[in-house]
């Protein structure tokens, strides 16, 4: 149990209001596009209209002649500096500006720099590019067929196959399947979707010829990692690069990769010696920056007749687009997809994934997700429902029967993960009770008699977050630790900096609460700063729900180092032995005489004014925390839907989310995260897809076609929790940001399928748009 501090201190467990909101709600946030530097000029991308075409010529003459245009950079120009290609996080490379050919619609072809934004946009229209169209591959299955057009001519391997990866025991799994009395299978496609953060990507690159320093203000979820990438790729000494991530308007993984726009802005600033700003439009963001998912998956479960699961077999085709730019730091090409055994105790499992190139935008980012966990959780939760259907068993009962029992934790999964802690049944029980599961089943039975359609969907997901331990992760060889540096000022106020970067998660509040919890300094007196590589300690950034598991842990450990020193100072001030001191948040007192005490503020002042002999002045500490394991948050979501037989429209009547993310820092922020993630999950399940037609034209390239949920579509979310602390995290927290996005899609889809299961429907692919449901109703002869 976490000791609860007073509301004045505002440590863990207090729903204190978000400190950063003070500026946000006044419109005083400072985003990249708010950065205005003297002499700043503007960049604009010229993009390919074709999904696959040979570049015959680029004529920049007309564009260059337009008054106000300063430069037009092409791939050939970059090639001279060996910058036409750049490495990706997945050991592939991608074009910065196209040379030779283009491989997806909207690919970057040239970069125009002009004195103002409008001139840059006009000049981009004047760049004449001659293309010769080539056959287009949008279907990853076809990309693997013999004789398929070769997309990546730059590779030695002359086909479109990127990788084959497998994990688990193939032979043992085959054997179980051969003898299993029951086999259930589902073929589920997790469509290509996009995080569509409120703020698109952009940067201001500012190279000073006077100092030789490059400052890049950018929409970065990982400023330190990006600095290192710029140093390694661009050859600029790392001490001469400063990356500043100011306020970020949502990231969700979209702001992890390095994009061509950043590189071109830097090149332009180096060339011109002035600051260069580049900000994407909404369509550019949707069409060219990191998409998510696009996994064609099959899951098969072998089970006993009474529903005990024996083995799981998963086969997946992963569409990575034109370049394998999957922004993931794991050592496995399909990330953490092998968490696909989920919350269930499978004695045997086997999982294989093949990655494929197609003529689509590159990416494969972890959209509010730890590197393919969302795909995995969706697949297993769908497959379990199909098994329940095949066995004519209640899906809750089937889950209950197969949950990993609490006494088995730490649990070693058959695909190799060690789950730190879990207790799945209580979370499901609360969710079922809260929603009134038994009554709903009765209601459903009644409604079916009347020909009405309602469904109940359950998802009992297990997450894997907090990237990550060195055995499974690195970026360019750099371990996935994260950091915190705390300085206590003489007046007892504090400043703390981290290697992570908030994009709206509320770090300025939650990290301050950790410091408050550990040192008793009120959270209001702790300033948190992230995002400036000149001042913050090195870290790998914020994504994959890793901030609390890594930097959060580092904050606690650094605070404890400070407390150790504070104790020495307190003993000196109280003229007693260190061992005679007791701590309560905010002060040390002498055992047995609580009136003899020194507050942390007294101690801080003494650290600068009255230092014990032999002790260094000051009160500060830094910690780099390399997590010993990942953390495994979990929960059960239950969704009730009603279907309109006239329109095929699905209405979410109720949604109960019971989450377990271990010990909670700020319950209000956790609830907010869950609301946001569920809303995104709803959009993925019902509304969103970045689709391509057969010529490779993007059919979800603007908000006209790629729909965002508003208050109108969003149902009321009901949340609850259980608490199973992580045994290895310094204060038992697990991370929560992505759970609702990971866990909810299956709950929505399971509910819709459940509503139609008596008609013989076993699966519907997302997004479940009304037309799709209506077609099914019509086919089954029940459309009104």
């Amino acid at each position: 149990m976490i000791h609860k501090t007073s509301p004045e201190i505002g440590g863990m467990g207090h729903s204190i209001k978000r400190k950063e909101d003070l500026r946000f709600i006044q419109g005083k946030g400072n985003y990249v596009d708010d950065v205005h530097l003297p002499g700043m000029v503007y960049g604009q991308m010229v993009r390919s209209p074709y999904a696959h075409a040979r570049l015959k010529s680029i004529n920049t003459e007309k564009a260059k002649k337009l008054p106000g245009v300063l430069a037009v950079i092409t791939g050939e120009d970059l090639a001279k500096a060996n910058l036409a290609w750049m490495p990706t996080l997945s050991h592939d490379k991608q074009m910065v500006l196209a040379t030779g050919k283009v491989l997806f619609q909207s690919q970057e072809v040239a970069f125009v720099v002009a004195e103002d934004r409008y001139t840059a946009a006009d000049a981009a229209e004047l760049v004449e590019v001659e293309y010769e169209e080539l056959p287009v591959l949008v279907d990853p299955h076809k990309a693997l067929e013999p004789g398929a057009p070769l997309l990546r001519e730059d590779r030695e391997q002359k086909d479109n196959h990127i990788f084959h990866w497998e994990v688990g025991d193939r032979q043992a799994t085959e054997q179980v399947f051969q003898n299993a009395p029951v086999k259930a299978s589902v073929k589920a496609f997790f469509p290509r979707c996009h995080p569509a953060p409120l703020e698109t990507c952009g940067c201001v690159a500012d190279f000073s010829r006077a100092t030789g320093r490059l400052t890049v203000y950018m929409t970065s979820q990982a400023p330190h990692a990006h600095r290192t990438v710029f140093a390694l790729v661009g050859g600029i000494p790392e001490n001469n690069i400063r990356v500043i991530s100011p306020d970020i308007g949502g990231g969700f993984g979209n702001k992890v990769p390095v994009y061509p726009g950043y590189v071109c802005s830097i090149v332009a600033s180096l060339t011109l010696g002035v600051p260069v700003k580049w900000i994407e439009t909404r369509s550019e963001n949707l069409q060219s920056t990191g998409f998510a998912r696009d996994y064609h998956m099959t899951a098969e479960i072998a089970a006993d007749r009474d529903g005990k699961m024996q083995a799981l077999r998963v086969k997946t085709l992963a569409d990575h687009g034109a370049f394998n730019a999957a922004a993931q730091p794991t050592k496995f090409p399909a990330g953490l997809f092998s968490i696909c055994t989920g919350s269930y105790d499978y004695p045997t499992a086997f999982c294989e994934v093949d990655g494929v190139y197609t003529n689509k935008a590159p990416g494969g980012i972890a959209y509010r997700c730890s590197f393919r966990v969302t795909e995995a959780a969706y697949l297993i939760e769908r497959a379990v429902d199909v098994l329940a259907l095949d066995l004519k068993m209640d899906p809750a009962e089937l889950r209950r029967k197969n949950f990993i029992p609490p006494e088995k934790f730490p649990y070693k999964s058959s695909l190799g993960w060690t789950y730190d802690s879990g207790n799945y049944e209580p979370a499901m029980n609360i969710a079922l009770e809260k929603i009134g599961y038994k009554d709903l089943r009765k209601e459903q039975e009644e409604k079916r008699k009347k020909g009405e359609l309602m469904g109940i969907g359950i998802s009992s997901f297990t997450e894997i977050v907090g990237a990550g331990p060195a055995h499974s992760f690195d970026i360019l060889g750099i371990k996935m630790f994260d950091s915190c540096e705390i300085r206590i000022h003489p007046t007892g106020k504090a400043m703390a900096r981290m290697g992570t970067k908030s994009q709206g998660q509320g770090h300025e509040t939650t990290y301050a609460q950790i410091v408050a919890q550990e040192l008793g300094i009120p959270a209001a007196d702790v300033t948190i700063e992230e995002g400036d590589t000149d001042t913050a300690p090195y870290g790998l950034g914020t994504y994959a729900s890793r901030s609390t598991p890594t930097s959060g842990a580092a904050t606690a450990v650094a605070a404890r180092k400070i407390r150790d020193k504070a104790k020495k100072i307190a003993a000196y001030l109280l003229e007693c032995n260190e061992n005679d001191l007791e701590w309560e948040p905010g002060k040390f007192y002498v055992k047995g005489s609580p009136s003899k005490s020194k507050t942390i503020q007294d101690i801080a002042f003494a650290a600068y004014t009255n230092i014990p002999p032999g002790l260094e002045a000051g009160l500060e500490a830094v910690d780099y925390y390399d997590p010993p394991n990942l953390t495994f948050p979990f929960g059960t979501y239950v969704c009730v839907v009603d279907i309109d037989k006239g329109t095929g429209e699905v209405k979410v009547r109720r949604f109960v989310a019971v989450d377990d993310c271990g010990n909670i820092i700020n319950p209000m922020i956790v609830e907010g995260q869950i609301h946001g993630g569920l809303t995104e999950g709803l959009a993925i399940a019902f509304m969103q897809q970045i689709d391509y037609d057969e010529s490779g034209n993007i059919q979800g390239g603007s908000f006209q076609d790629y729909l965002l949920p508003t208050a109108v579509e969003t149902p009321h979310w009901e949340t609850d929790k259980t608490c199973t602390p992580s045994p290895h995290h310094p204060f038992g927290a697990k991370g929560v940001g992505e759970s609702p996005n990971v866990g909810s899609p299956a709950a929505f889809v399971n509910a819709v399928v459940d509503a139609l299961s008596h008609l013989g429907v076993k699966h519907i692919d997302m997004p479940i748009a009304p037309w799709k449901v209506w077609n099914i109703l019509k086919e089954k002869g029940v459309a009104a």
């Binding site: 209209p49 619609q105 760049v127 004449e128 590019v129 293309y131 169209e133 069409q287 010529s695 059919q699």
Partner: protein, 186 residues
């Protein structure tokens, strides 16, 4: 993005006169809004251009028009047009089959099937917009075609045609497309 558009309309002129117009790409082109024939390559091949404006996006296609099949007995023609936008914003192709049928009242029925393929910026607008654009263009074409029939076929092409080489208006198009969307919903 591929789509197929089938259209049938009637004109109050005898079939032979309509055929004389339909089988001459130079003349037909003057009826297509925003289009013009710029050169003749051989007996069956012409060079041409068409300007299409949808919202803020103007596409200037230049390319070729080729007569694939000409059947004067049955009054059937098959034409293939292919073009690329001059500023590299995409390409389009259209294969059109036209067939005439004499009507008992002395008029002629024109039945056409067009298979259109659009690649590039325009295609991102999706089939609901492209179909609407095609509908509007076709409506304009029918008006021009009928007007052209009113003049002697050997008269020089020029001012008299309704919408020669003018891009279709963005505002009216957006309006028509919007109306179209609402109509289809009902």
């Amino acid at each position: 993005m591929a789509l197929k558009i089938e259209k049938t309309f009637t004109v109050q002129e005898p079939v032979e006169k309509v055929w004389a117009l339909l089988s001459d790409p130079r003349k037909v082109a003057t009826c297509v809004p925003g289009a013009q024939i710029t050169d003749q390559v051989d007996e069956k091949t012409y060079k041409g251009a068409i300007k299409v404006k949808v919202g803020p996006s103007v596409t200037d296609y230049t390319g070729e028009v080729r007569i694939l099949r000409l059947d004067p007995q049955n009054h059937e023609i098959e034409i293939l047009g292919k073009g690329q936008d001059v500023r590299g914003r995409g390409s389009a192709s259209m294969k059109m089959t036209g067939k005439l049928r004499a009507l008992p009242d002395g008029g002629t029925e024109v039945a056409s099937v067009s298979e259109i393929n659009v690649v590039g910026i325009l295609a991102q607008m999706g089939s609901r917009v492209i179909t609407e654009v095609s509908n509007i263009m076709f409506g304009e074409f029918v008006k021009n075609f009928q007007a052209r029939l009113q003049r002697p076929l050997d008269a020089p092409e020029g001012q008299a045609t309704v919408a020669e080489a003018q891009p279709i208006s963005a505002t009216s198009l957006a309006w028509e497309a919007t109306k179209g969307l609402f109509h289809r919903k009902s």
